[in-house]
């Protein structure tokens, strides 16, 4: 009897497992948002004519007019006040007061939710005139109060936002963050469609700053009602953007559907599917199957050579410069890079053009400044020469005529950094520098770097907003230079960085930034700029209008993209 029981138990186990799986599959039909769109709709008291926008387009996933994009990591949240990394959803479901777009080849600030703005002569007061024809996905009308709410939500300690620094220059913002004030003094709704923002001190990049995803405008009613589910539950996460988020199956896919009531007119595609495909080879297979429409090769680098070397895909590659530079950062507190001659010698010993040609198919160009081309303030910097003999002479002058040891730091899981570090190791060896690579686990690397304790390391910075401040302030202020393990002690530079923020004259401001850049790169050689890469994306034949945005990000708006089969 017991023998049969054992078989029975095994059988029951198997059956119960199968039975429990009926609900396991995530088919596209289980949209939590279909109900949410109707149920969550709010009718504005003042705007009696305005009711729920049609939930049309929710069935986007079923149609063939949808863009499929692979993602390697799951997004923490699509509330971009609480995330510093994943912006593709925020860029498509929310709008900002202003946007940064390429106009006639130049990245320019253009109107969006604000149709125009005035700036006081002292650079302190910004008055935004808002559009009066914008509605959120829940049907609520967009007003100045939503702007006030957005700023206050970011600064509310209860929000625990990660991007507070995008609004921290507003008057009274710091008080709210410290729990000293109920609201932000510097943000006022003058009427329904005018909002006035006063800054603590002039901050010239303020408009560029407002164009970042982190400054997306939220709806007060919706976000307050959603609480901590905002950005997580698709049914309660609303914006004004050309798409709305309709479904989110964790670690599987996020579905966006077209917002037919978008104030600039509906988008050309029915929707976007962001599919979790962590494995790069799987991404390639799915692209070849036609299951993916757009694959970002710059973040799936193992597939880059395959696509670039294949004639079939020649016309499918879309490229554009990244608004970011790769560089080596030196630690000025550590031997031997505490000596400017050693830093210059290292720079002169490295042949950047060869690295670019050999390792990256020449997809980019060598740079000599921290400010990449295409970003405001970029200029023709003096070339840092490749001169191994000169490097040896400098080393001898610094007392290292017999050679010296050098540690190059990097994260463990960074094959790209490892590859280039190995190449420069041998280049440095030729001038008598005995370099070794020190690999650290990511968490240790970042926390040690924050304490100013890591040595020479390869770094990269991409623009958040289009201003030299974003590059130079991030690395060279007194506090940040330590947090980046550069540790330069040039007090003039600290002061200039603060001065530049308050300058109203644009030409003077740019001239000062160039002076800062020249001081740090050419004179102090605190950093050694390498190259600016081209961003490479492969798109299917039927995808039209896909362009690399001004900042060279993967994350971009799909408003202007269409599908023509």
């Amino acid at each position: 009897m017991r023998k049969y029981l054992s078989l029975l138990m095994a059988g029951v186990l198997a059956v119960s497992m199968l039975g429990g799986c009926g609900s396991a599959f995530d088919d596209g039909s289980s949209t939590g948002a279909a109900a949410g769109d109707g149920g969550g709709a709010q009718t504005q008291a003042g705007a009696s004519g305005e009711t729920t926008p049609a939930a049309a387009g929710s069935g986007a996933a079923a149609g063939g007019n949808v863009i499929h994009i692979p993602e390697k990591d799951e997004f923490p949240t699509v509330d971009c006040q609480k995330d510093t990394e994943f912006y593709v959803v925020p860029l498509n479901i929310y709008d900002r007061l202003v946007e940064c777009e390429v106009v006639d080849g130049v990245a320019t600030i253009v109107p969006s939710l604000a149709k125009s703005w005035d700036i006081s002569p002292d650079g302190l007061v910004y008055t935004f005139h808002l559009r009066d024809d914008v509605t959120f996905h829940n049907g609520a009308r967009f007003t100045a109060d939503d702007v006030v709410y957005t700023v206050e939500r970011m600064m509310n300690p209860a929000t625990a936002a990660l991007n507070t620094d995008f609004f921290s220059m507003i008057k009274g913002a710091g008080d709210m963050l410290d729990g000293q004030a109920e609201g932000v003094e510097g943000v006022k709704a003058l009427d329904d469609y005018t909002v006035e923002i006063t800054l603590e001190v002039p901050f010239a990049p303020f408009l560029a700053n407002l164009a970042t995803p982190s400054c997306s405008i939220y709806n007060r009613e919706a976000a307050e009602a959603a609480g901590d589910q905002f950005g997580i539950d698709p049914a309660v996460t609303v914006g004004t953007g050309p798409f709305k988020i309709t479904d989110w199956v964790l670690n599987d896919r996020i579905t966006l559907a077209r917002n037919d009531d978008y104030f600039k007119g509906p988008a050309k595609i029915d929707g976007i599917e962001l599919i979790q495909v962590p494995d790069e080879n799987t991404q390639k297979l799915m692209y070849e199957n036609g299951e993916l429409d757009v694959v970002d090769l710059s973040s799936s680098t193992s597939q880059l050579a395959y696509f670039m070397g294949n004639e079939t895909y020649k016309d499918n590659l879309v490229t554009g410069p990244e608004a970011g530079n790769y560089f080596y950062a030196f630690n000025l507190d550590m031997k031997p890079t505490d000596d400017v001659r050693v830093r210059k010698a290292i720079s002169m010993a490295i042949d950047r053009q060869t690295i670019l040609d050999q390792m990256y198919n020449g997809a980019g160009h060598v740079v000599n400044s921290m400010l990449p081309d295409g970003v405001l303030g970029s200029y023709d910097a003096q070339e840092i020469p490749y001169d191994p003999e000169g490097a040896k002479a400098l080393l001898a002058e610094a007392g290292y005529g017999d050679g010296c040891d050098l540690e190059i730091y990097q994260k463990t899981d960074d094959p790209d950094a490892l590859a280039i570090n190995q190449v420069i190791m041998s280049m440095l060896g030729q001038v008598g520098i005995n370099a070794t690579i020190k690999q650290m686990d990511e968490a240790a690397y970042l926390s040690e770097r924050r304490e100013g304790n890591i040595g020479m390391t390869r770094a990269v910075w991409w623009a958040d907003f289009n201003d030299p401040d974003n590059f130079l302030y991030t690395f060279f202020t007194e506090k940040n230079t330590k947090a980046r393990s550069i540790n330069h002690k040039n007090g003039d530079v600290y002061q200039w960085l603060e001065d530049a923020r308050a300058m109203v004259d644009e030409d003077e401001r740019m001239a000062l930034y160039q002076k800062i850049d020249t001081t740090m790169v050419q004179d102090e050689a605190a950093v050694f700029p390498l190259y600016q890469m081209d961003h490479i994306v492969v798109v299917q034949d039927w995808v039209k209008g896909f362009e690399i945005p001004w900042n060279g990000w993967t994350d971009t708006s799909y408003y202007n993209v269409s599908i023509e089969r």
Binding site: L13, M17, C21, A24, F25, L177, L285, L446, R450
Partner: protein, 306 residues
């Protein structure tokens, strides 16, 4: 029997607490804090200093340990740093997918492994035997990622190679996991059946004039399956704790994927949650195996007491 089960279940509690304790100690020794990892390159010193205080990250680990246990006893396993959702909801969400995959792989391995083992045992040292056992050996020894990538390339365009949208999406990952499990089961069935077929009562049954097939299936198989069933239970518990590589390769949002993400992201609450869950699953699997053993083998039952 009931007393035995109750005792075994009670023993799991200190084991779980010990596991949590070890994770706490280990993660407090390594440098780095979760906020820095969360923000990566965009690390902002002010924000990290501020949030470390609000999130109690500056408290000593033993204080956080006690709070964690207290909350866990109340059913609150914390909120994932990286995915900003409650840990229990994340596990509840991922488990059905892992369960589905584990069940498919297990059933596949039984349907293939047991018959293959029987045929090999009956046709000992024949070409079929060598073929089956060679195949089983490959299943046991080739790592999942190479089998997985091979199958993906082979079936690309015919079967879905990524995701979890339909039963068809399960075929390839279940094959990868199932092949491995089937290999073990086939080899075990073969050796166990061979041993039994040597026994006196089989000779007696044959001497009685019974047809060969009933002898093998009824008298032989029934008695040789005992170790195989135990192995099945153990295999299921390891499948349920998440097939890390297979789930990543095929983009299946299960427990294995969740655990890897938690480790990479230094996501303490999520990591603790998945480890506790995995530990519990494995303990349960072993418990079931032990009970099955008692049930099917009278000798152990006598020693283990009533």
């Amino acid at each position: 029997m009931l007393k035995y089960i109750a005792k075994r279940v009670l023993v799991t509690i200190p084991v779980l607490i010990g596991v949590v304790f070890m994770i706490f100690v280990m993660l407090s020794v390594v440098p780095g804090d979760p906020l820095t990892v969360m923000m990566g390159e965009k690390v902002k010193v002010d924000v990290i200093e501020r949030l470390s205080v609000t999130m109690h990250l500056n408290d000593p680990w033993y204080v956080r340990f006690v709070w964690y246990l207290w909350d866990a006893l109340h059913g609150d396993f914390g909120t994932s740093y990286k995915l900003t959702r409650s840990v229990s909801s994340l596990i509840a969400n991922a488990f059905p997918k892992t369960l589905m995959l584990a069940a498919s792989a297990a059933v596949l391995s039984w349907l293939v492994g047991i018959p293959a083992g029987i045929i090999s045992a009956v046709k000992k040292n024949s070409l079929v035997d060598h073929l089956f056992m060679g195949f089983a050996l490959c299943g046991v020894s080739i790592p999942a990622f190479s089998v997985g990538m091979f199958l993906q390339n082979l079936f690309n365009g015919i079967l879905p190679v990524s995701g979890f949208a339909s039963p068809a999406h399960l075929i390839l990952p279940a094959l990868v996991l199932g092949w491995n499990a089937a290999g073990t089961i086939a080899r075990l069935t073969r050796s166990s059946l061979l041993e039994v077929l040597e026994d006196d009562y089989i000779r007696t049954a044959r001497a009685k004039g019974l047809a060969p097939l009933p002898v093998i299936l009824w008298h032989g198989l029934k008695n040789s399956l005992l170790p195989v069933i135990t192995m099945m239970a153990i295999q299921i518990s390891s499948l349920l704790s998440g097939a890390v590589i297979t789930e990543t390769l095929f983009s299946i949002p299960g427990i294995g994927r969740l655990t890897v993400d938690a480790i990479n992201g230094r996501d303490m609450p999520l990591l603790q949650g998945t480890v506790i869950f995995t530990t519990a699953v494995i303990i349960m699997g072993n418990l079931i195996a032990d009970i099955l053993y008692c049930v099917v083998d009278p000798r152990i039952r006598v020693e283990g007491g009533k």
